[in-house]
Subunit: 359 residues, 4 copies
């Protein structure tokens, strides 16, 4: 099929590459001419403007937006007047599902079809394939099947069922529509794709935090070797003899990848990182968060669904960027007011901060 890709960042460029390899024709545009030129050199047709792109695409046009969530609205505002009835606009970025619902309605009024595609896989997706979670009108999504097959892992070897990677469960499906095992899925009406991707990212945050907390506990398992002074503000470590370990984190992350219950793609990633840099010294630990982790929590709150793990993971990221600072100052101020307690010194990276006595 012919696809117009708008936005040639890390993800957009790789989508084009994977589509091209599977025989699809890509017309590409980006506000940075160099990004366009780079993909042109790899076989895509470059468009130096949205106008140009529109004239290069055959009706009904298929347009895939892969721009930052914050830029989708502006891009759509520019694009919409150029669209014709029957055209298909795909938002493959990390937009809120709420925007997907609205955009589906707004474009639908012009007889333009809107499809929201949650795209997971990161930089590994180029070779591994992407997991695609799709919302919109079902017949339009079905029409786009060749594109999703090319991008999803099941299509690694080219189009056709024969090349689809077998399910790890060895499960045979009679139903032709059982696309989940190929790595793409029609999830429901407008916004459904981004809703499912949103929750996916919420889970991702929780899994990442679980691994991170666990490795931190292993990292500090030698705390008993340090001596603590006894003071008015100090409760001594009761059993220093239990914390005399000096664990090799790269080896531990590696062994967990072989036969354990927590074997996972995220564990593969941290094993790789620890092999290269066992102390992770190159990282300051200020962790970004995408809108999707936040939106997952908002959905949980709207639905009255408890999400203590997903929220703890999100708040840890906020804290890693210093956002708890004032709350901590409040705590110190209260402790001084009621107990005359002086503040503790920051202990990073040393684990030996002595705990102190409260009133």
């Amino acid at each position: 099929m012919q696809v117009g890709m708008i936005g040639l960042g890390r993800m957009g460029a790789d989508l084009v590459r994977r589509l091209t390899r599977h025989g699809h024709q890509c017309v590409v545009h980006d506000v940075r001419p160099a990004a366009v030129a780079a993909l042109q050199a790899e076989g895509a047709s470059g468009a130096d403007s949205l106008d140009a792109m529109m004239s290069m695409l055959k009706a009904p046009r298929i347009l895939w937006l892969m721009v930052p969530a914050g830029a989708v609205e502006a891009t759509l505002a520019q694009l919409t007047p150029m669209l014709s009835p029957g055209d298909i606009v795909i938002d493959g970025g990390n937009s809120s599902f709420r925007d997907g619902i609205r955009r589906g309605t707004e474009l639908g009024e012009k007889n333009v079809h809107f499809v929201d595609v949650g795209t997971s896989g990161g930089i590994a997706g180029l070779t591994r394939g992407y997991c695609l979670m799709i919302g919109g009108e079902q017949d339009i999504v079905t029409y786009l099947t060749p594109i999703f097959r090319a991008l999803a892992p099941g299509g690694n070897g080219g189009p056709g069922a024969a090349n689809v990677a077998p399910s790890p469960n060895g499960h045979a499906r009679d139903d032709d529509s059982a696309t989940a095992e190929y790595g793409y899925l029609y999830c429901g009406l407008h916004g459904a794709g981004h809703f499912v991707k949103m929750v996916h990212n919420g889970i991702e945050y929780g899994m990442m935090a679980a691994i991170a907390e666990g490795l931190n506990i292993l990292k500090q398992a030698g705390i008993g070797k340090h001596t603590h002074e006894v003071g008015a503000e100090t409760a001594p470590l009761r059993n220093p003899e239990y914390y005399q370990y000096d664990f090799a984190l790269p080896e531990i992350a590696e062994v967990w990848r072989h036969g354990s219950v927590i074997d996972s793609w995220l564990l593969d990633r941290i094993a790789n990182a620890l092999r290269k840099d066992p102390a992770l010294d190159q990282f300051a630990g200020h962790v970004s968060d995408s809108g999707e982790g936040r939106w997952t929590l908002e959905a949980a709150i709207d639905e009255a669904v408890p999400a203590p793990v997903l929220s703890a993971a999100l708040f840890s990221r906020f804290s890693s960027r210093g956002q708890a600072g004032f709350a901590n100052q409040v705590l110190s101020a209260m402790r001084q007011e009621f107990g005359g307690h002086a503040e503790a010194a920051a202990s990073s990276p040393s684990p030996s901060t002595p705990p102190a006595k409260d009133a």
Copy 2:
């Protein structure tokens, strides 16, 4: 009664002052001679050694230890050989209830009575009185009633029921043993006093954190005034128009003290602190924690009782001291591995860190 006070720090010295004012005779000792001299000048009898103290006290001796939790064991080791059957040893500090159980047994084998007293009130206790949570043999605790009356709030005006502050609930008790309204309580056998004090401090941590988080949310309520750039790592604040406030935190803390549901002694403390220093700039926000917050969680775990709020409050304190650092580095490392994401910059104290896109 005659009481030997060992340990004349902030708390021990004030206990002596309050006992003296209520007519009790105090013999005092501290490893710092100046601390002994100071209280001697206020009417206490100074002892320059534990030996001296023992000879100054009439049998059966009443000894009150008010030393750091980490120093109780060493002090008891020194003291125990000097004790006679019938003597009473009170641990008024922040020891673990587990130690109280053990010490009760060990001293009991020598016919020495051990009493554990959880003491809350901080530096305000001198004038306000202390809340005393008491464990040990019931008849021994009853024998010590005059001491507890002097220290607890109900005894402010001197001994005797007539001077006891009425219950805020206007509740009349027929039972003479209803001492809770005076501010002291026999809680049970050895360790019971420190167990109840431990949970008290756990609750304290939770309440403090609730106030701190709330004030932080108010503090950042003007975030919508700041502009955010749109980038690949950015999800825009969806509704900046909602976050245009510039709240006066000292006034808000003050108004909540008058008629609100969250009216509390801790709120009084932060209102005081904010009045003096609205930005709390003198505090870095590295918050100590006593053993009691930790032990409360351990008890919850042993009992299989969920304690999500108390644990979150404790962990926030750990994080405030940089103890989450390696976990955050792990998160950054994973994000770079799967998505090629660069780290965010730390945003403290600015609230405007842009959230970023995850894979």
Copy 3:
């Protein structure tokens, strides 16, 4: 002043009573005629329709809405066409601050003044006075001062500084506008009152949960008395000797009210409840939550402020109503899949559920 009160539920009726006692004239309306009649018997003027109320109020009219958050929009829709320029509409309920911002703008276009008042105090407010957090145009709020004085605790004895309850801190203010000590506060433009009340309720949730978790830990402190069988799914309680207590919760809640750090109005409430019903058997423990707890979290998320305690408190309420059910089924299903583990039996109210072995 003359005030029209719309909504005569628990809170609305008590506001009328308190206003009336302070010499204000109240015109009252409710969809339930009996509620109107009851207050008419206490001296208010009853209006059997909004139309009637409008004609009974002198210009500029002051209208106080005290209806459920979910009914404010419909009431305003009915009311707005009847309003004249210069009229003042007060929303004293638990609306979202976002609605306050919008309503301020919408009514402002008709030259009607909108004031949002967060009102805390519950059923005790009638005698204790209410804590009022106020948003809107500052001159309008100043104009309404006599009403706020009557409702807030500082105005108990009538208008005038002499009757104002002294600050517990003994702090003297030179500034006449220091109203916080009277129990009411101008917080900022439209929505500011409900924003501050929202955060107040968020803190309230956290404080309540801290107390509840602590009391639960005390409640289960006798778990060591129960014997546990040893089985493949069981890890034994390591130290049953530590958990042999049988604590008297009503006495403990009472003693904490006298001199402790956690002395608070909420603790007063649970001490009252435990005195009447020590086991709290009349309560099933399905805990409601208002919109304000949810909105506090949404604000924290928008601001990137960590709120682990406030979120844990909210999620505990969701869970108390069974909302974690499916997540728990997922956990059980995973455990069966990987380890062949059968489910544990529910243990409520017994604390003796044996923990089991994971793979």
Copy 4:
């Protein structure tokens, strides 16, 4: 090698099978004769008593204990008098690392070698191989290499590097001792194996909870279809139009297994379970927990390492078994005291519980 296996439950029996397949000779014992007979039929040598087993094993004996954590102490007490210097005792169950340290010392005094092996893999381990985390004396662990090779995934095809499954990262090791890629690892001195296994299980809890919470949010994504009444205790769902989805959870869990960031062995498990029973109706959702989740938290507390995600996951399990019941009753009691609020009805499994107004 010759191994004596004590304990033939699910795990012990499968370990024997896998050892036998790799050419090791197993002598087996269990308190249930039928379990012994079953494995005898598969080629193991049965011992009807520990005494018998001891005489069937050649010196130095290798004894592998695979009994419940709560039964290890009693088994060791029975076994120890029969041991000779040079014998090796392996604890492969889920014991606390603290016990491992103690047992290593105690047995070492008799010149018996103690090895603690954390064993992950569950019922899939028989074919997939087990992930082994090992503590003890390094030379003893090296001596046992053939056993660990047989049990770990790397040994699937028999002994020898040629049969080792390649690392997913395609990483070649020069170091012969790089055993982590085979699925077993020497972690350090006594207790190190169980420490690492303990943290592994802590991470497992967090990952499981992340998946469970996410699926629960998807499950309730149709909540907007239900109507809510407006009442004094109700804050309406602000945007029901956003929650109109009816997601197919089995398909979603499946699609995430193909190319997504959260691809993991645990996700495989829940995908399997959902395929068989999409509503998971056979599960009540009372989730057991092993000692290891608890011990992970205790280690975090001792080390002052924040573990908000791991603790939230553990507490969710406690709550699933009704252990939050009294805390919830406390919340309901407080709400009635201050606001006169009646309790909400439990809403499981319906997601439509109306939230209510707080004071």
